[in-house]
């Protein structure tokens, strides 16, 4: 008898707590937008989430990183509202999404240059796309082959779930050639975060890395890059990305499951407005709407 009472009481409590939860969301006191994906975008997304508090205090935006692939996988599995990606969704991923009854909708929210970085003491100041491709695929392995010191080149890359990794593989190693099947050489270090790359480049005179311009700090050296058909070496900046002079720049994306409505639509519309886009240039990225 006693246990029966206790069980009923427990059930009652559970039910009560469930129904009160339901009430809160239907009244719309606070609602949450779950936002996950690209590590390149995560700082930007956090800054937006914070600024959006001032615009719409009743909407909480929960931002996490993990990589573009992580975000898109979460969108496919239905655990996030908005996925951040520093690359376009792959056809395979789109198929998987459709199989899971999710229709990914794409928004370009900013642009980004990928900076090539080396240790400050490295005498190298410029590299061409061809040279970068040869280094990362393992054909060039010593800085002296590029006119630098006699040191081994330690190649740093992001993990394969990073949109930056995929972009770099397609646009730099394979130079945009879809038939090309060049891979990163196996001795390329795959670091789990942008910060890991910055730390190693800062510390190691042998290192060569790449990272979104928004992450690059003053204590590493940015190398000027020349495009495939060009002999002009260009440093990355907002201007050189906008006038398409810098060869390795890309769009940054947000994906939603189906056409967004309600609070998610309002958030995405706000992102493309002028004040939100100012935050983009403050963080070292290039605004999507100039």
């Amino acid at each position: 008898m006693k246990t029966f009472l206790a069980v009923t009481l427990l059930l009652g409590l559970l039910l009560a707590s469930c129904s009160s939860d339901g009430d809160a969301s239907s009244k719309g006191t606070t609602s949450t937008i779950v936002n996950k994906g690209s590590d390149t975008i995560v700082n930007l997304a956090l800054a937006w989430a914070e600024a959006y508090k001032g615009v719409e205090p009743r909407v909480d935006i929960a931002v996490t990183g993990g990589g573009s692939g992580t975000g898109i996988a979460a969108l496919i599995n239905g655990t996030v509202d908005v996925a951040n990606a520093s690359r376009q969704i792959k056809p395979v991923e789109r198929d998987e999404a459709v199989a899971n009854d999710v229709e990914p909708v794409e928004f370009v929210i900013a642009r980004d240059a990928i900076a090539i970085i080396v240790h400050p003491t490295n005498p190298i100041t410029e590299l061409s796309i061809d040279q970068l491709s040869d280094i990362y695929s393992g054909k060039i392995s010593n800085w002296s082959e590029l006119g630098g010191d006699d040191r081994p080149i330690v190649k740093l890359s992001r993990e394969t779930n990073s949109g930056t990794h995929v972009y770099f593989l397609e646009q730099v190693l394979r130079k945009g050639d879809k038939e090309d099947s060049t891979l990163f050489s196996p001795d390329t270090l795959l670091l789990p975060s942008s910060e890991g790359i910055m730390t190693e480049v800062r510390d190691n005179p042998n290192a060569l890395g790449y990272d979104g311009l928004g992450y690059v700090t003053d204590d590493v050296k940015v190398v000027a890059v020349a495009g495939e058909q060009s002999c002009f070496y260009v440093l990355p900046s907002i201007e050189t990305v906008n006038n398409a002079k810098y060869p390795i720049s890309r769009d940054l994306y947000m994906y939603t499951a189906g056409e967004p409505t309600g609070r998610i639509l309002a958030y995405l519309e706000w992102i493309l407005q002028a004040d939100a886009q100012t935050i983009v240039s403050d963080l070292g990225f290039v605004p999507a709407t100039p």
């Binding site: 992580t70 394969t160 891979l183 795959l190 190691n204 290192a207």
Partner: protein
Amino acid sequence: MRNMAKSELIVTRLIKIVGYSAILFVALIFLFLLLEGAPALVEIPLQDLLDTRWYPTEGRFGLLPLIGGTVLVTIGAALIAVPLGLSTAIYIAEVAPRTLREVLKPVVEVLAGLPSVMLGFLGIVVLAPFIRQTFDLPTGLSAFTGAILLGAMAIPTVVSVAEDALDAVPSTYREAAKALGATDWQIIWRVTLPAARSGVLTAVMLGIGRVIGETMAVMMVTGNAPVIPNGLASLFRPARTMTATIAAEMGEVANGSVHYHALFLIGIVLFTFSLIVNLSVSGVVFRRRTRAERILS
């Protein structure tokens, strides 16, 4: 009296259930791994699994570099943790004076509780640059750095368990040996250590278990380059372990894809690894015990 018996019955049952549930959980976990990982064996041809490249986003699923990386880092870490851990345990249990011992033991056990992320961070900021400069390596993010860090992480486990085992050896053994004229070293090497053998082996096994399963610190300091190790020089090159691969890639994959199944297959390989370590050690422990019993009877 009747009440006592009843509550005792309940407690015994409860303990029995808890005991069996541990086995049940292991079985369920293995079943889950098998269900999620086995499809990879069908989806990926065997020669592709024995390929030399691990590049899942481009359809290359060679497991050899990952297995090699784990073996390399584990052996390196065991070579550091086992001798250092055992000698520390012997020192604490047999040599150190009572007061020092009461300080050392808790301090070592606190070390065991250090979060591995923190050790990994220390590894990146302090250990990796130090190793690069000392050994004049291209980069400090190497299997060796991982082995040192994991060794350091396993030492407290080895010390704590081995010290308990040595401490449990009856003092009459030592007194008897001393009465026969044995030196301190002879007592440690010929009497206490053999008497505590099963506990000491458990300590080693738990230490190695910790090393094989460690993820975060290893992902931060080994550089994660999937290279197949060849020879001693590979220890000073970057390596990619199975655990780091699962941790780095599991968040990325869509449920049910080939890559997802391949990651679970790595999980099965890892599980088999720890199983082999455990079984071989417990095999040794049990064999010794039966032989000792035979002699005694």
